[in-house]
C-alpha cells in the first residue's frame, strides 16, 4: 500500500515537472473565419482557435448562441476585427462573464469611410492583413510569454508569405488594361482592395448585406455599366445572386465568377485559408478583366 502511494506521488511530481505544452494551449476565439486563419498561422499548435461565425457564415447578420457564450467564457483572447463589424460582440462578452482580453486586429489600419461610418472590410488588402497579423502576434506574445519566440518565428514566416502574396496581387492587377479595371460586386466589401490595387468596385448593396437597394440605385448602376462598358459582374459566396444576374443580363456584362469577401469556406471548399481566398479572387478578376 505504502509503495503504491509513493509511486503515485512520484508520478505526480514527474508530471508536474515536465513542461506540458499540450496542457498550456491558450484558447483563442476569433469572430470570423478569416481572423481565425490568421490566429492559426501565428499560434500554430500552441493555441486552440475557435471561429464564432463559421465557414460560409455571414458576419453581418450573425446571432450568437449559448454555445458561443460558453466558448467565449473559456477563452483567454478574443480576436475581433473592429471598425464596427461585430456589433453583437460587446453584449455577448458581457453576458458570458468572460475575462478574456479583447484584441482588435484592425488597430493601426487607416480606415476608409463608407458614408458616415468606417468600412470594416480592411482585411481585403494584403497590406492591412499584415497589420492584423502583427497585432495578433503581439497579443499572443503578451498572453503567453513562454512561447513568445515560437509565435514570433511563425509570424515572421507568415508575414513573408503575405509579402509575396501582396507582390503577386500587384503583378496580376498590373496585367489588366487600365480601361478594364472596373467591376460590379454584390456589397461594398472591396474598398480596401480597390484602394491598394487600383480596381474600381461598384456595388448595389451598401456596406452590409442587410440593406435593400432602391429601383434608382439599380437603374444608376445599369446606366453606369453601359456607359463605362464595365466588363464583368461578380457574385459573392454568402448572398443571393439573383440581383447580380439580372444586372448582368440587362447590361451584357458577363458574370465573372464568385468573389470571396467576408468568409472562408470549409476545408473541402475552394478557399479554406486567407491566402487561398486572395489568390482565388485575383484569379477570377484577372480572367474576367484581362484579355
Amino acid at each position: 500500500m505504502r509503495s503504491l502511494r509513493a509511486a503515485l506521488a512520484a508520478l505526480t511530481m514527474m508530471l508536474g515537472a515536465t513542461p506540458q505544452h499540450a496542457e498550456a494551449r491558450i484558447n483563442v476565439v476569433a469572430s470570423f473565419s478569416i481572423l481565425a486563419d490568421f490566429v492559426k498561422n501565428v499560434g500554430g499548435d500552441r493555441v486552440n482557435v475557435t471561429s464564432l461565425v463559421g465557414p460560409n457564415g455571414d458576419v453581418h447578420v450573425y446571432a450568437p448562441s449559448p454555445q458561443d457564450a460558453k466558448t467565449i467564457a473559456d477563452a483567454r483572447l478574443v480576436v475581433i476585427n473592429g471598425l464596427g463589424l461585430e456589433g453583437w460582440l460587446p453584449r455577448l462578452l458581457q453576458s458570458s462573464g468572460s475575462k478574456a482580453t479583447v484584441v482588435t486586429a484592425s488597430t493601426g489600419v487607416s480606415p476608409l469611410k463608407l458614408g458616415s461610418e468606417a468600412d470594416p472590410h480592411a482585411w481585403q488588402s494584403v497590406v492591412n492583413a499584415k497589420i492584423y497579423v502583427t497585432n495578433i502576434r503581439d497579443a499572443l506574445v503578451q498572453a503567453d510569454a513562454l512561447d513568445g519566440d515560437y509565435f514570433r518565428r511563425n509570424a515572421d514566416r507568415y508575414l513573408a508569405e503575405l509579402d509575396a502574396l501582396d507582390r503577386e496581387v500587384r503583378n496580376e492587377m498590373e496585367k489588366i488594361p487600365p480601361a478594364r479595371r472596373e467591376v460590379i460586386s454584390t456589397h461594398d466589401a472591396f474598398g480596401y482592395f480597390a484602394k491598394d490595387y487600383g480596381i474600381a468596385f461598384i456595388a448595389p448593396l451598401g456596406v452590409s448585406t442587410e440593406t435593400e437597394p432602391s429601383a434608382r440605385d439599380i437603374a444608376t448602376l445599369i446606366v453606369q455599366v453601359k456607359k463605362d462598358e464595365i466588363p464583368a459582374v461578380f457574385l459573392e459566396n454568402i448572398t443571393d445572386d439573383r440581383l447580380m444576374r439580372r444586372i448582368s443580363e440587362e447590361t451584357g456584362a458577363q458574370v465573372g465568377g464568385t468573389l470571396y469577401s467576408d468568409s472562408l469556406t470549409d476545408e473541402k471548399g475552394p478557399v479554406p485559408t486567407y491566402i487561398a481566398m486572395v489568390r482565388h479572387n485575383i484569379k477570377a478578376l484577372a480572367s474576367a478583366l484581362g484579355r
Partner: protein, 290 residues
C-alpha cells in the same frame, strides 16, 4: 421633368422595372382576393406567422442540397402546408380558435427550424437568402408567380361559393352542405402557396403586405364581397405601380416604398372611406326623411 419622365420613362428604359411591374400585377391579382378572405376570417396575421413557419422546410432543403433556391422553396412549401393544415384541423376538431392553434404550430415550426440550422453549425441567415427582391425578377421567378396567380384564381373561382358562405355564416353552411371543411383547407393551401412563392420572389414585406393592406383599404369602400375584391385588387395595383415609381425617383428601397404607398392609401381610406370612414361618421349624411 415631365409627367411622362416620371411615370412612364423608367419602365420604358429599364427591363428590370418592366419585370417588377409584371410581378406586381400577378401578385395583386392573386394576393388581394386571398387577403380579402383572410380579413373576413380574421386571419390577417397569418402571413407573418407563415414567414417563420416555413423555416424548418427551408432548412432541410438547405441541408440536403445546399443553397439551392428550388430545394429550399419546396421544403418551405411542405413545412407551410403542414403547419396550415395541422392548425386548420385542430381548430376544426377542437374548440381552439384558428389564430391560437396557428400561433402554436408556427412557433413550434420556427423552433424546429432554428434547431436544424444550428445543428448544422452554419450561421448563414437562410430566410435572408431565400427571400427575394422585386428588382431581381428572372424568367423562372416570373413564370412561377404568373403560374401561381393563374392557379389561385381558378381554384378560388371553384371554391368561391362555400368560401363566401363560410366566411359570413359558417353555421348555415354546415346545415346545408359539407363543403365547408374542404373549402377551408383548400383555401389554406392557396394561402401557403401564395405566401411561399411570394417570399421567394419578393421578400416577406411585399408578399404579406400586398395581400393584407389592400383588403384593409377595400373594407372602407365597399360592403359586398365582389366589391371588396375588385377594390382590393385595384388598390394593390395602384400601390405597386406608385411604389415602384416612388422607389425610382427617391431612392427608397422598392419593397418598403410599395407598402408605404399602400399604407398611405389605407390612412386616406380610414379618414374618407364611404363605409365607416371617420369623416363620414362625424358628418353623417342626412337620413331620408318623409
Amino acid at each position: 421633368m415631365s409627367i411622362y419622365d416620371v411615370l412612364a420613362a423608367p419602365f420604358i428604359e429599364f427591363e428590370f422595372m418592366r419585370r417588377a411591374l409584371a410581378a406586381i400585377i400577378a401578385l395583386s391579382l392573386a394576393g388581394a382576393p386571398i387577403g380579402v378572405f383572410l380579413m373576413l376570417r380574421r386571419m390577417s396575421l397569418v402571413g407573418d406567422a407563415m414567414a417563420h413557419a416555413i423555416l424548418p422546410g427551408a432548412a432541410i432543403g438547405f441541408l440536403l442540397s445546399g443553397l439551392n433556391l428550388f430545394a429550399m422553396t419546396t421544403g418551405g412549401l411542405i413545412a407551410g402546408f403542414a403547419v396550415a393544415i395541422l392548425a386548420g384541423l385542430v381548430s376544426r376538431t377542437t374548440g381552439l380558435k384558428e389564430d391560437a392553434s396557428l400561433a402554436t404550430f408556427y412557433l413550434a415550426s420556427l423552433a424546429l427550424g432554428v434547431s436544424i440550422v444550428s445543428l448544422r453549425g452554419s450561421n448563414i441567415d437562410l430566410l435572408h437568402v431565400l427571400f427575394g427582391n422585386i428588382l431581381a425578377m428572372d424568367d423562372q421567378t416570373l413564370l412561377v408567380i404568373a403560374a401561381n396567380a393563374t392557379v389561385t384564381l381558378i381554384v378560388l373561382a371553384m371554391i368561391y361559393r362555400p368560401l363566401v358562405i363560410e366566411s359570413v355564416d359558417p353555421l348555415f353552411l354546415r346545415s346545408v352542405s359539407r363543403a365547408g371543411a374542404p373549402a377551408h383547407l383548400i383555401f389554406l393551401a392557396l394561402v401557403v402557396i401564395n405566401l411561399v412563392n411570394g417570399f421567394q420572389a419578393l421578400g416577406t414585406l411585399l408578399a404579406v403586405g400586398l395581400m393584407i393592406l389592400p383588403a384593409g383599404i377595400a373594407r372602407f369602400w365597399s360592403r359586398d364581397i365582389s366589391g371588396l375584391i375588385c377594390i382590393a385588387v385595384l388598390s394593390a395595383l395602384i400601390s405597386g405601380y406608385a411604389g415602384l415609381v416612388l422607389s425610382f425617383q427617391t431612392r427608397l428601397p422598392s419593397g418598403p416604398a410599395i407598402i408605404l404607398v399602400a399604407a398611405g392609401l389605407y390612412m386616406a381610406s380610414v379618414l374618407f372611406g364611404n363605409v365607416g370612414g371617420l369623416v363620414r361618421q362625424l358628418f353623417p349624411r342626412r337620413h331620408l326623411e318623409a
